[in-house]
């Protein structure tokens, strides 16, 4: 058993050491870049949609219950199923419109939808969590609605908002691998290829890189959130 694991480990090390795996389309630099670009683009897409919604329902209190409920249903939608549905739709879109990468489009859309729910709910929860006394004090000081939002609510909600972004990012990094099943790029390719060719070293290498990327994001956000949180506490005094 242990001997087997050591052999596997050695094979993975050899795989990482092989120069072939560092060049070309299937090389680590390219696949890693593809993966990171996919995750960054989807996160930007999700933030653009989710943060304004969260801020609006948090600040005004309007449509909050309805929105949070809809978003929670969105959480129930499996990404793999979503990609499977989006894939034929993306084909239709690409055939009609500009020639784009079908798998990329399907994965991107599925990842945006995956990332929206945690960001909306956490943005909303962060704003709702701001002390009402502070809000009234800000109003009393003559701050207008958008000034309260920018000067008080957003800074104080930032730690909770970022926790939502962290959850979304980690999920997107791990789930974006599924795009490879539909012929997309990214680190998922190694997993799909490794499985198809029964090349365990390749499979392991892909899994390790994805997990490492996700853990890196988790730790990085943790550090950022602690910084922001300390700042928020200081301003709270």
């Amino acid at each position: 058993m242990i001997e087997g694991i050591l052999t596997d480990l050695a094979a993975v090390m050899t795989w990482f050491g092989d120069p072939v795996n560092w060049t070309g389309r299937d090389g680590i630099p390219n696949r890693l870049t593809e993966h990171i670009v996919m995750c960054l683009l989807s996160m930007v897409g999700a933030l653009v949609v989710a943060v304004p919604i969260g801020l609006y329902i948090g600040h005004t209190g309007r449509f909050a219950t309805v929105t949070v409920n809809i978003v929670n249903i969105g959480r129930a939608v499996p990404s793999y199923a979503l990609m499977a549905v989006l894939y034929p739709l993306s084909i239709a879109f690409v055939v009609m419109g500009p020639g784009a990468d079908i798998a990329f489009l399907a994965t991107f859309l599925a990842m945006v939808l995956l990332a929206i729910p945690p960001i909306v709910t956490n943005t909303w929860a962060g704003i709702r969590g701001v002390d009402d006394d502070l809000r009234e004090a800000a109003r009393g000081m003559g701050m207008r609605g958008h000034e309260v939002l920018r000067g008080l609510e957003i800074p104080l909600a930032l730690p909770v908002l970022l926790v939502g972004v962290r959850i979304a990012t980690v999920q997107v990094i791990a789930t974006a691998t599924l795009g490879a099943v539909f012929g997309g790029g990214g680190l998922g390719r190694y997993i799909v290829q490794g499985f198809a060719r029964q090349d365990d070293a390749r499979l392991w290498a892909g899994a390790i890189m994805v997990a490492a990327l996700a853990i890196l994001a988790e730790v990085g956000f943790g550090w950022w959130i602690r910084r922001v949180d300390r700042h928020a506490i200081v301003t709270r005094r």
């Binding site: 499977a84 549905v85 599924l178 099943v181 365990d200 997990a211």
Partner: protein
């Protein structure tokens, strides 16, 4: 491009039996995963509640497992346990651990000190206090965790179709392989519906289990 419609309703009509069987398979895979995951998580949470230093290491390990892509975990287990239900379940169970352990511990931690002291004052042993006071009060948080775990698992079951399991995920895969969108879309839509139904059932169950949280206040 053929002029075949995107959704072939006749195919669905003539395969209702298959759809039902696959739905049952999907539910069975999910229930086993969440059930086993809950038993394991409960044990781990008890260890943490008794001995707090275990919290960090246990959640760190569960957290690392959570970051391994489902596709990779399924594929990595195949050489060891084959294209079997066991392979699917090992992976599915491991994804429930982080959510469930965390919510059980957070739920029990969130029990008000007053309730705990009252229980001590009434002469409960620490086990009695846990079973009859702390766990019931932690129930909303624990059920919320079960809800997330169940919905996530329903989604991950579809991925296990790639290793020959998968319930409704089989439809997604077969449809993709045969270029028959009706199958893919039916499988996807039904797994989404299954997840939504599970989600709603949890909300309703929680309402029944914790009637004290939904008392209508008649006094102003």
């Amino acid at each position: 491009m053929t002029d075949r419609p995107v959704i072939d309703w006749r195919w669905i009509g003539s395969h209702l039996d298959d759809l039902w069987d696959l739905t049952v398979e999907h539910i069975v895979l999910t229930v086993i995963a969440v059930g086993v995951g809950f038993v394991l998580s409960f044990g781990l949470a008890l260890v943490i509640l008794r001995w707090r230093p275990a919290y960090g290491p246990i959640t760190a390990i569960a957290g690392i497992m959570y970051t391994i892509p489902s596709l990779a975990l399924f594929a990595l287990l195949v050489p060891i346990t084959g294209l079997s239900t066991l392979t699917a379940e090992i992976a599915l169970v491991s994804y429930t651990l982080l959510i469930l352990v965390r919510t059980i511990v957070i739920g029990v931690d969130g029990v008000p000190v007053d309730a705990r002291e009252a229980a001590d004052g009434m002469g409960f042993t620490s086990r009695g206090r846990l079973l009859r006071v702390e766990l019931p009060l932690a129930l909303p948080v624990i059920v919320a965790g079960l809800r997330i775990a169940t919905v996530t698992t329903i989604g991950l079951v579809t991925v296990s179709a790639l290793i020959g399991q998968g319930g409704l995920g089989r439809l997604i895969n077969d449809g993709l392989q045969r270029g028959f969108p009706t199958m893919t879309i039916t499988g996807a839509v039904m797994s989404v519906l299954l997840a939504i139904v599970a989600d709603v059932l949890f909300v309703l169950t929680l309402r029944r289990l914790t009637p004290w949280q939904h008392v209508r206040r008649s006094d102003p």
